[in-house]
Subunit: 320 residues, 4 copies
Amino acid sequence: MAQPTNPSFDIAHLGHVELFTDRMDESLDFFTRVYGLTLSGRQEGSAYLRAWDDYEFHTLKLTAHKTTGVGHIGYRAASPEALARRVAVIEASGYKVHGWTEGDWGHGPAFLFEDPFGHVFEIYYETRRPDLSDGEKPALKNMASRFHARGACPRRIDHLNLLASDVAEFKTFMETCLGARVTEYIQLDNGRLGGCWFTVNNKTYDIACTEEHGGGAGRLHHVTYATDQREDILRAADIFLENGVHIETGPHKHAIQGTFFLYVYEPAGNRVELANAGARLILAPDWQPVCWTETERKKGQAWGLKTIASFHTHGTPPVS
Amino acid sequence: MAQPTNPSFDIAHLGHVELFTDRMDESLDFFTRVYGLTLSGRQEGSAYLRAWDDYEFHTLKLTAHKTTGVGHIGYRAASPEALARRVAVIEASGYKVHGWTEGDWGHGPAFLFEDPFGHVFEIYYETRRPDLSDGEKPALKNMASRFHARGACPRRIDHLNLLASDVAEFKTFMETCLGARVTEYIQLDNGRLGGCWFTVNNKTYDIACTEEHGGGAGRLHHVTYATDQREDILRAADIFLENGVHIETGPHKHAIQGTFFLYVYEPAGNRVELANAGARLILAPDWQPVCWTETERKKGQAWGLKTIASFHTHGTPPVS
Amino acid sequence: MAQPTNPSFDIAHLGHVELFTDRMDESLDFFTRVYGLTLSGRQEGSAYLRAWDDYEFHTLKLTAHKTTGVGHIGYRAASPEALARRVAVIEASGYKVHGWTEGDWGHGPAFLFEDPFGHVFEIYYETRRPDLSDGEKPALKNMASRFHARGACPRRIDHLNLLASDVAEFKTFMETCLGARVTEYIQLDNGRLGGCWFTVNNKTYDIACTEEHGGGAGRLHHVTYATDQREDILRAADIFLENGVHIETGPHKHAIQGTFFLYVYEPAGNRVELANAGARLILAPDWQPVCWTETERKKGQAWGLKTIASFHTHGTPPVS
Amino acid sequence: MAQPTNPSFDIAHLGHVELFTDRMDESLDFFTRVYGLTLSGRQEGSAYLRAWDDYEFHTLKLTAHKTTGVGHIGYRAASPEALARRVAVIEASGYKVHGWTEGDWGHGPAFLFEDPFGHVFEIYYETRRPDLSDGEKPALKNMASRFHARGACPRRIDHLNLLASDVAEFKTFMETCLGARVTEYIQLDNGRLGGCWFTVNNKTYDIACTEEHGGGAGRLHHVTYATDQREDILRAADIFLENGVHIETGPHKHAIQGTFFLYVYEPAGNRVELANAGARLILAPDWQPVCWTETERKKGQAWGLKTIASFHTHGTPPVS
């Protein structure tokens, strides 16, 4: 698989995900009390949430909606100049463009555009840091806010996974618009890409795309936050169990990316993950994407767990 | 503290450290059997070592020498063009330059230069990946080599710490020559910098510099490898204990950077660390360096452990 | 050190500790919100607390008092017959006896007696299990109550440590009255016992006694709850840090008993520990007590941490 | 479920399991190098193995045999008197008795008897402790031998699981002959016991029996060693993966007993487990056995993992 020879470095990192819910109260209770995010504020039908060491005002925008799924995905640019460069590239790309907005509550002006499957992306540079109440100030000043130890209490947003009917097309979109690099991918026997994992920095991935098998469009597979240790995920499994949260699969270790994982459904049905990559980073500037064949994928996860059927079909919003 | 407004992105990551030892056999036994690195090969008085998921031929070059300390520090550039850009900058900088070498066993042509305190640095782009024997091939193809579970078995090189009589001067050197960014620093009451932590990528730091209090020049404070989990470090403490390795301090959590740490002396006296940063990364392109005052530092480490006296004085080589 | 040849098996386990506090509100807030115990109920100036998997109504009785320290220590007998046997032995022993009480809120009739240093003990058989509210019922029916994940959230009471001016005398008391066995002890150069660890079952210890160096009488060194994993203790250290709790020493591993530990002071000054023994149990019926000499103890804890000065002097109540 | 009202305390703990293998060399390599037991010695076709903190000469006797499965199960009595008491009870019980042997290499005189399904048991009191070579001596004198950190390196033997066509009958056998107590059991809708977990001390179980569905007799389900932490089991999963060991299921948490588990097949096909119970112990002398109905068991393991089909059918020796 060919990689762009010159990483752009224009995009700094995944900023936030807007998640739709048709059970706002229950979803918000889940994300704050059980999953362990912090509410930065509420405005116009949305709750702005962040993990305890997320440095931005929000990394999850939870929006009351008629259905579930992903509202939009925000990436932060590395500088104002980098943002301008990216906008120029996107405008020239032919992909559908929504144009500039004045920005959301949690950040400055943003440029919106769309992948071929209906997922809306935005890029921005100016951002907002949370206003910490006294009770939110950390004991150690290098932390974004206090380690509150509430619920599963992940440290920061990690990645999301989108469904697309043509993963190769999504790959071109990511490389073109965000300058993203592929770190791992699934090559199906029929010549199609089964899935693709992308990064814009040293993280092993900040977005993944897997093939849509449910007939939907613009759907979300899952959103993920990172924990400091694998033990945090084992502990979270007990928290989910005690709170009646549906555990779909895990804890286990992915063969792809080697991530330790746990998948649950939040009350409205969106799949949410907790993950831990250990000390794994993609530091090599000439990283060669790792190809997984269909045969290799049939071996299941790293330690042999067979991938659960719903993992291939459940996405949000549900297909009616 | 002012930060360069445009991160260069020219340097990809810390590549390797050359460590001098005057007890080659014992040091090599320690690093392979107890600390858990893998020997890629030996050549002309040096052993080339790597952690199991280091992707390069070597990240530690252990060299038999009349004394201890650091031989040189290698950083890998992001591309051939980036390497050329950096060389031009360094040549124009006025810092002492050794010029090009054809490269070491583990990488291609390298450009050597020196900080004002006598530490030798090199930058290179062309690199070599280890030739895996059958027994070294990983079960998961996205790993650099097999998780061998021997000794403490850290995952990858993480950082090193150098001693300098003037940390501010070292800071200028790092910003100028490597385009490094400061993530945290210690501001002493006397106006001097007590220590400074630098990164060239999303890691929280890949090099640190603390003030030399022992009167030496060009000395090393420690070299560090990263473990996947904190539990790996607790387990390593037992391994060190059972193998008669001198544990200097830890396991505990640093206030600065929040890293979970354990410091030991390898048989020749060089300080070696195991560390785990959890899921902490520096993703913000406009990260504001965190300033620790002398008063704050006197509180000790994160959970109250007082910094042990030898930590402020022991460096290698010893001062005669 | 001679051991009784026939373990009595009459005493099943440490049941509870009554702790005095002269800052009731703050102590109760600490134990429930930060340390993570559950309030079973309040009655007459006392709060009855338990860990989530403690099966009895209370394992900590927190009592408002004019000072701090230990009120009494309760052990549960193995059967009504075993209780009767023990009472007969204690009555014949010559130790100070308080006689029968109708029992506390959390258990049935209890027989009270005293060690030569003023610590009050009681033994009982009839006990009370907590009445679980709907929110306290566990997801898994083999757990005593719900894993609530609040604060440090230890699993069960583990042990306590008392101070005595003559540890050998305390040893005779424990062997005589409770049929306890010594698992480890410190033999000082002056011929005295520096400390002694006792068990009545397969736990490595449920009570310890160390030499009083502060001139007090009937004092407490610490009370300890057990966590499931060492990671729980590392996580608790952050919780204590964020809540302004004084961390005295740890996390680290004891040389004696090999327990992973963390010591803090609750708001009134009583020392409280979290500990994890891993899978270590005393299963051998002919276990030979492990003797630690003064020289060996000077090596510090398992991984070299020097024992902090306050650990040898701080007890509750304070000596005026 | 009625429990014997007077625990006998005559039996101290599970001592060892003899495992048959028809691939002696491969099985021995697995148990020493991968699973991480230590070879105490070899004699007459058997290898005597122990975990690093097992205090007896052997806890696993691995015997070259024409097939696989369990040779015999040894329990250590609490005293010579207790041994005599038990022998009298067993002789009067009507169960098949093999009588006294002079003992095996690892212990003194033993009394052998048999359950109704052909599993051979022995009880003994006199035992042998391993002769530690210099390299096996522990750094901490309260450990049985050195923490060698080789392979999965569990701490001690934990339990075994036998298959029987009538679990209720096995229960009567255990209560009668060993004075064992039931801690948890499965009550099938057809009125039969689906499984039963027994203890003779404070461990949650040291033997379990589940219903034989494969038509065999005297078969073994699995043998288990305990690790100190759950993380040890996650790490072991990677070791098994890298060594080509068949991982049957896990890591996950059992609903029954709450044990964190991982099941693999050693090279000859015997199922071997690593398990961690956290700080869970059965301390209550009047513990009420926990009943799991068939409906409850259909929910799968604690975090929702469905029990794998082979878990219900695979036992050793295989049924021809």
